[in-house]
Amino acid sequence: MGSEALVIFFICALIMVGAGILVSNLLAPKSKNLQKEEPYECGIPTQGTAWIQFRVGYYLFAIIFLIFDVETVFIFPWAVGMKQAGLAAFIEIVIFFLVLGLGLLYAWKKKALTWE
């Protein structure tokens, strides 16, 4: 089948989850209760909202990931053509990885990879 069949898998996933939740809604009991609808916090009353600032460390890793993910996308076509292109491709990827390694080394020395 061609790639248009992807749509059917997308729809199937939606149907599967949707039908399950629908059946569950029909079968399950429902009762209103203020205590039950509070966010769980070990049984004590909830203190404030959870939608707050969180540590910047996660963003740093997300940014470094972005760089390396784009680089992975570049490596995909290289890996496919590596055997046909031969020596030229090998020399190019060595240079590519050297530049990339310098980038990783920079992030490392800047302590971007250290969790404090």
Binding site: L6, F9, G20, F97
Partner: protein, 361 residues
């Protein structure tokens, strides 16, 4: 032998039978519906079997018996669980973002479902055979992290948020290692198409044909894929001793069940990709010139080989969970960025060199 076990005969026969009384468009739509139903059924059975396997394997590692009451050896336990989860009240806490809270299970299941579509189960038994198969699976399966982040954030619960942020950092980090370790083998195959990769292993699996770099890549893949699926020892996104249940703390009933189903489906997907790329997919085990041995191995149908290898990989992942203590988040990120990633980059270079010189088999 090869013709006997080829599923394309079956699919072609169904295609011709449908064509005899339907228009081309009708045939296409009917086939799509059939494939969709087959995959939904497979998904459900997979969930039932894997949950049972997980509980039994966990129990045996701890010298318990595990579920024993429902059905012979507790085999009907998961079905009882599904019925229980269906009857549970769906609670949405009043602080939550209701739309995103309800959307999260859809996204996470959609990612798992679409990634499963491209897996080669046996010769001629593959729903979608893209020429960019590995890239497609890597791309689609990583969409699941959006569902996890949505679930954690929309719950408006501190445990959920911390769990989701950890899961996000972990999954995107380890995704790099998964892709790069697969690319180490792609250097040798010269194709991203999963069926071509399987065919290229008719005379031996890449794990053995690619020498030491292939084995290093396989080890990295095992570690990284375990982390990418949030399995122990990397399950700190749902570390029950500190975060209650992590990103799905606020979920109840069937929505909670879908997170679990997606987790098990993801486990199956990474195991299947690992088995396809490193362990020869549905190709039987062949040893050099042992004609008799190879002929006997050919008699075992490809579909058994595929599921055997996948089961082995899944068992390894369950084994990890009960063998290693859980990592801290800083140890987890150090392992990826300071060890696996540099090793992986050097490993690809070594593999490229081997491919260039032609030292592989």
């Amino acid at each position: 032998m090869k013709a006997l076990y080829d599923f394309s005969y079956l699919t072609n026969a169904i295609h011709q039978w449908l064509s005899s009384f339907l228009s081309p468009n009708g045939v296409m739509i009917t086939e799509m519906i059939l494939v969709g139903l087959a995959f939904m059924l497979f998904f459900a059975v997979l969930g039932l079997v894997l949950v049972y396997a997980e509980r039994k394997v966990s129990a045996f590692f701890q010298q318990r018996l595990g579920p024993m009451r429902v059905g012979k050896w507790g085999t009907a336990q998961t079905i009882a669980d599904v019925i229980k989860l269906l009857m549970k009240e769906p609670i949405i806490n009043k602080e939550a973002d209701r739309f995103l809270f309800n959307l999260a299970p859809y996204i996470i299941m959609m990612a798992a479902f679409m990634a499963m579509a491209a897996l080669p189960f046996a010769r001629g038994l593959q729903a979608l055979d893209f020429d960019i198969g590995i890239l497609y699976v890597a791309a689609v399966s990583s969409l699941g992290v959006i569902g996890i982040l949505l679930a954690g954030w929309s719950s408006n619960n501190k445990y959920s948020l911390i769990g989701a942020m950890r899961a996000g950092a972990q999954i995107i980090s380890y995704e790099l290692s998964v892709a790069l370790s697969l690319l180490t083998i792609v250097v040798l195959t010269g194709s991203l198409q999963l069926s071509v990769i399987v065919e290229s292993q008719a005379d031996g699996w890449w794990l053995f044909k690619g020498h030491i770099p292939a084995m290093i890549a396989f080890l990295i893949f095992l570690i990284a894929s375990t982390a990418e699926t949030n399995r122990g020892p990397f399950d700190l996104a749902e570390a029950e001793s500190e975060l209650t249940a992590g990103f799905h703390t606020e979920y109840s009933g069937l929505k909670f069940a879908f997170f679990f189903l997606a987790e098990f489906a993801n486990m199956f997907i990474v195991s299947a990709i690992g088995a396809t790329v490193f362990l020869g997919g549905w190709m039987p085990l062949h040893i050099g010139n042992w004609e008799g041995f190879n002929a006997i191995m050919d008699y075992i149908p490809p579909i058994f080989w595929f599921f055997g290898k996948v089961s082995f990989m899944i068992f390894l992942m369950m084994w990890f969970r009960w063998t290693f203590p859980r990592l801290r988040i800083d140890q987890l990120l150090t392992l990826e960025w300071k060890y696996l990633l540099p090793i992986n980059l050097v490993n690809i270079l070594v593999m490229a060199f081997i491919g260039l010189v032609g030292w592989h088999f």
